[in-house]
Amino acid sequence: MLGYLLLIALGAVGLMLGIRPVGEQSAWLHLSIGRQLIGGGGFGRVDPWVPWATQPYIPTEWLPDVAAYKLYELFGLSGIAWLRAAGVLLLLAVTIWSARRLADTVPSLIAAGAALVGAGHALTARPQLLGFVLLSLAVVAWWQMASDLRPRWWLVPLTWVWASSHGLWVVGIGFGVVTIAGLALDRRLTWVSARRLLAVPALSLVAAALTPIGPALLLTPLTVGRDVRDFVGEWQASSAHDLATFVTLCMLALVALSWARSRRVPPWWQIAHLVVAFVATLAMERTVAVGAVVAAPLLAQTMQSWRGTPYVALPRRDAMAWLAMGVSALLIAVPLAATFAPRPTDVPTGLQSALSNLPAGTVVMEDTNMSAWVGWVAPQLRPVKDSRSEIFSRQQHLGYARLVAAAPGWDRILDRSGATRALVLTDSPLAAALHEREGWATVGTDDGYSLMGRP
C-alpha cells in the first residue's frame, strides 16, 4: 500500500512539474528551429536570423525540434506542455525502473523521487529532457551489462536517436567506457568479453556520426561553447545552495558513507559511477541532473542493503499495474495541459503586437532572456545577439555584456549594432542609460520589460 501511495505521489509531482504554462526561453528557440527546418530553411554559413554571427549554427537537436513544432501546429502550447509532462513522467518511469531492478518498492521510489528533485533543472520543455530520459536508459543498460557481461546492442540505435536529439549522447558513451574500465579493474573481463562490451560504445560512436548532421557532430562536444562558457549561466559551476545540487550531493553522500561503514567492498565499476556522478554534480548546473540520474540506482541499492534482505523482483501483475498508471497519467495530462497551459508565461505578451508590427530587418537590442521569444513571435526582426551562445565570438559576448551593463563604450557598441529598438528589463542599467543619455523613448512596457525606440 505504501508503495502505491508513493508511486501516486511521485506521479502527481511529475504531472505538476510538467503541466505548467510554457515560459522557458529555450522552448521558443527550439520551436523556431523546428519551424525553420520544416519550412525548408536551414542554417548555413550566414545565419538566417543573426547575419553577423561568426559561427554557423548546427541544429544538433533537430529531431525533437521538428517533432515539437509539429505538435505545436496541432495542439498549440498545450501540446508543448503535454510533451514536457510526458518527458518528466518518462524520466521518472525509467529512473524507477533502474532503481526497482536493485531494490524493493519503497527504497526504489525514494531513490527515484530524490533523483527527480536532483534533476529539477532538466525538467523543462527542451530537448535536454529527452537527453536525460535516454541517459537514464543507458544507465539501466550498463548496470545490466555490468551484471551479466552481455552487450546490449540496442544502445547503438538508441545512440543514433540520442545524437539526433541532444548533446548528452557523448555522456552515454563515456559512461559506458567508464563502466568497462571499472569492470576491468574488478578483473571480471576476459579479452573476449571486454571486446564485446567495448564494441557497444564504439558502434554507438559510429551511429552518432551517421545522423543527418554528419561526422561533424562528433566534434561538437569539443567546440560548442568552448570560448563562451563564462557567459552562459547554466554552464557555471553548480552551488550546494541550490536544492537540486544539495539533494544530489546528499544522495551521493549516503551511498559513499554507507560503503565506508559497510563490511562489504563495492566493485570498482560502481565506485566509478559514484565518481562520475560526483564530478557531474559539481561541474556545472546543467550536469547536476546527470549526477542525479546516475546516483539513483546506487542509492536504491544502498537503501536496500540497509534492510539486510535481498530485494524481491516486482511481480508481473504489479508491473502491469504500474505501467497502466503511467499511461493513465499521460492521458490525464492532456486535459490538464489544455486547461492550465494554453498560453505562455514570463514573457511580455503585451508587447507582442508592437514587435510583430516592426518592419522586417529591424535590429533590436534584446535582453538575452527574451531573444528566443522575440525570435518566435517576430521572426522578421534581427537581434543584436540571441541565446545561441555558441555562434557568437568571445568578442561579441564581451561587447554585449558591456552594452547591457552600460559600461564605458556602450554607446559606441550600440551605434555599431545598428539597433533602433530595444527590449530590455525596465529596471536595468541599459534602460536607464538609453533614456537618460540617448533620449530613447519607451514605446510600451509589460511584465517588467520595456520596448524602447531610438528618437
Binding site: S147, A237, W259, A260, L282, A406, D427, R437
Partner: protein, 501 residues
C-alpha cells in the same frame, strides 16, 4: 543482481584504532625507514615555509586589513568594546567586535614596525598554519603521508589565506581537530579546549567551529558505542563550556549571536558565495574528499567519528568560498591517515630532530621575512595612494561615494572622510546594501540613491558603470586618477553634512 561485492580481507572487521594506525609504534617495533623517505618530506614542508615567505613579501592588498588596523588602533586608545562610534553614519546595523584580539596585535605591530611588520606577521602566521597542519597530519601518519597531506591541504586552504584575523581560526581549527582526534583514541576530555575557545572567541567569529568539531566527535563516539554515560557527559561538557566561555569575553554575551548575523548579508559578499569546482582550492579539496571516501570504501570499516568529521568538512567546503579553508583543514588529518594506509611502512613517531629542523627553518624564514619586508611591503598595494594628498585636502566629514574595495583604506588612511561603504558589511543594513548595489549597477533610481548619500566626491574604479554615468550623465568632473581608480567631483552640489538632519 550479480554478487560482485566482496568481504573485506582479514575476516573480522578492523577499526582504525588498532595498533597499525592508533598508538605510535614502540621503539622496539619501529621499522627502519630509508633516509630519503624521512628527509624529503620534511624538506617539502621547509619548501612550503619558503613559499609562504615569498607570498608574504608583497605589498598588502587585502581590502579589509585597513579597517582592522583602525579597529585595533581605536581599541588600544581607550579599550572601549562598544560600537565603533563616529566612523560613518551609513553603518547603522549592530557591529560586534568579534576580532579584537588579533586587531590589537596587528595595530601594535603596525605602530612599532609599520606595514612591513604587518606583512611579517602575515608571513609568520602562514608558517604557523603550515607547521600546525603538518604536525596534525603527522599525528595520524608518517612523514611522507603527512607531508603530502600538508601540501594538498594547504592548497585547499589557500583561497582564504589573507592577512586578516581569520588566520587565527584556521590555526585553531587544526588544533581542535587534532585534540578531538586524540580524544577519539583515548576518550579523555581536553579541558584546555575551553580556554582555547575563549581565546578563539576573542579573535574571530568562527569560534563556534571548535565546539562544533567537539560535538561531532562526541556524537560519533556515542554512535560507535565507545562511551559510558559519564564519559559522554564530560565530552559534551567540553563543547558546551566552550560556548559558555565565548560568552564571557569583554564583548559580552552578544558574541553568541554573531554566527547567525552573516546569513542576511551573505548575498552581498563575494567570499560568502558558493565555491566553484573550477577554482583550484575547492577542486583540490573536493578531490581530497573523493580520495578519502574511495580509500575508506576499499579499506577498513570507518568509525562514526571519522564519518562525522568528513561530513562536517564537506559541509563547510560546500557552504561558501570562504569556508572551503575550514573543510580543507578538517579533512587534512583524515587524508593523511588514509594515505598512510597505502604505505607499506608503519608510521614512525615524531622525532626531536624533525621538529628541530622545522623550527630552525621557520626561524630562518622569519628572519628573511623581517629583513626583506621593509622594502617589499612598506607601501599599501591595490589602493590609490597617488590620490592621498588630494584626499588629505578635503574638508573633514566629506562624504565620498566609493568603491567597496577602498572603503577600508579610506577609513584607515583618511579617517576624517566618510566613505559610503566599507568592508564591515555586517555593519550595514540589507536595504542600504541593496541601494548601494543598485547605485553601483546604475539601475533605475541610481541618481536618487547617490543624492541621498550627500556625496560631492567619488572614488571609483575607472571605467566602472557608475563612474561613467556620473561623468556622462551628471557632469561630474574627473579630478585625478591612480592605480585604476578615479577621483570625481560634483561641481554643482553644495557641501552636505549627512550627520546633520
Amino acid at each position: 543482481m550479480s554478487s560482485d561485492v566482496t568481504s573485506r580481507e582479514g575476516g573480522a572487521v578492523k577499526t582504525p584504532f588498532d595498533s597499525r594506525n592508533g598508538e605510535p609504534i614502540s621503539p622496539e617495533a619501529e621499522v627502519r625507514s630509508s633516509l630519503l623517505i624521512r628527509v624529503l618530506p620534511v624538506g617539502l614542508v621547509m619548501l612550503m615555509f619558503a613559499g609562504v615567505t615569498h607570498q608574504a613579501l608583497q605589498p598588502l592588498t587585502d581590502p579589509d586589513i585597513w579597517w582592522h588596523l583602525r579597529m585595533g588602533d581605536e581599541l588600544r586608545d581607550g579599550w572601549n568594546f562598544g560600537q565603533t562610534q563616529g566612523w560613518t553614519p551609513f553603518a547603522t546595523a549592530n557591529w560586534v567586535r568579534t576580532q579584537w584580539l588579533p586587531e590589537v596585535v596587528q595595530s601594535w605591530i603596525n605602530s612599532a614596525f609599520g606595514l612591513p611588520g604587518v606583512a611579517w606577521l602575515f608571513g609568520v602566521s602562514l608558517m604557523v598554519i603550515v607547521a600546525v597542519l603538518y604536525l596534525v597530519c603527522r599525528r595520524q601518519a608518517g612523514t611522507l603521508a603527512a607531508a603530502v597531506a600538508t601540501a594538498v591541504g594547504f592548497i585547499g586552504m589557500s583561497a582564504s589565506l589573507s592577512p586578516r584575523p581569520h588566520l587565527v581560526s584556521f590555526v585553531l581549527v587544526l588544533v581542535c581537530v587534532d585534540a578531538w582526534l586524540q580524544t577519539a583514541q583515548d576518550l579523555r576530555p581536553r579541558w584546555w579546549l575551553i580556554a582555547l575557545t575563549w581565546i578563539w572567541a576573542c579573535s574571530h567569529g568562527m569560534w563556534f567551529v571548535g565546539p562544533l568539531v567537539g560535538l561531532t566527535v562526541t556524537v560519533g563516539l556515542v554512535l560507535d558505542r565507545r562511551l559510558r554515560r559519564g564519559q559522554a557527559f564530560q565530552l559534551f561538557l567540553v563543547s558546551i563550556l566552550g560556548c559558555v566561555a565565548a560568552g564571557l569575553t569583554p564583548v559580552g554575551p552578544q558574541l553568541l549571536r554573531t554566527p547567525f548575523a552573516v546569513g542576511d548579508i551573505s548575498g552581498f559578499i563575494t567570499e560568502w558565495a558558493p565555491p566553484s569546482i573550477r577554482d583550484v582550492a575547492p577542486a583540490m579539496t573536493f578531490a581530497v574528499f573523493a580520495i578519502v571516501v574511495l580509500m575508506w570504501t576499499r579499506g577498513m570499516r570507518v568509525p562514526w567519528t571519522h564519518v562525522g568529521l568528513l561530513i562536517l568538512a564537506m559541509g563547510w567546503a560546500l557552504l561558501s568560498a570562504r569556508t572551503v579553508t575550514l573543510g580543507a583543514a578538517i579533512v587534512a588529518p583524515l587524508f593523511a591517515g588514509s594515505l598512510q594506509d597505502l604505505l607499506p611502512r608503519a608510521r614512525a613517531r615524531v622525532r626531536r630532530p624533525e621538529v628541530a629542523s622545522l623550527a630552525v627553518a621557520g626561524f630562518v624564514c622569519a628572519i628573511v621575512l623581517a629583513l626583506a619586508a621593509a622594502s617589499t611591503s612598506n607601501v599599501p598595494g591595490a589602493v590609490p595612494i597617488g590620490l592621498d594628498s588630494r584626499l588629505d585636502n578635503l574638508p573633514p566629514k566629506t562624504v565620498v561615494l566609493n568603491s567597496y574595495a577602498v572603503g577600508g583604506w579610506l577609513l584607515w588612511r583618511h579617517p576624517s572622510l566618510i566613505p559610503v561603504i566599507d568592508g564591515r558589511t555586517e555593519a550595514y543594513t540589507v536595504p542600504y546594501l541593496s541601494d548601494y548595489g543598485r547605485a553601483i549597477a546604475v539601475v533605475k533610481g541610481w541618481q536618487g540613491i547617490v543624492k541621498t548619500t550627500g556625496a560631492r566626491w567619488a572614488l571609483l574604479q575607472a571605467g566602472s558603470p557608475l563612474a561613467t554615468a556620473l561623468t556622462e550623465r551628471l557632469g561630474w568632473n574627473s579630478v585625478d586618477s591612480d592605480r585604476g581608480y578615479v577621483l570625481l567631483e560634483n561641481p554643482s552640489e553644495p557641501p552636505h553634512d549627512p550627520t546633520r538632519p
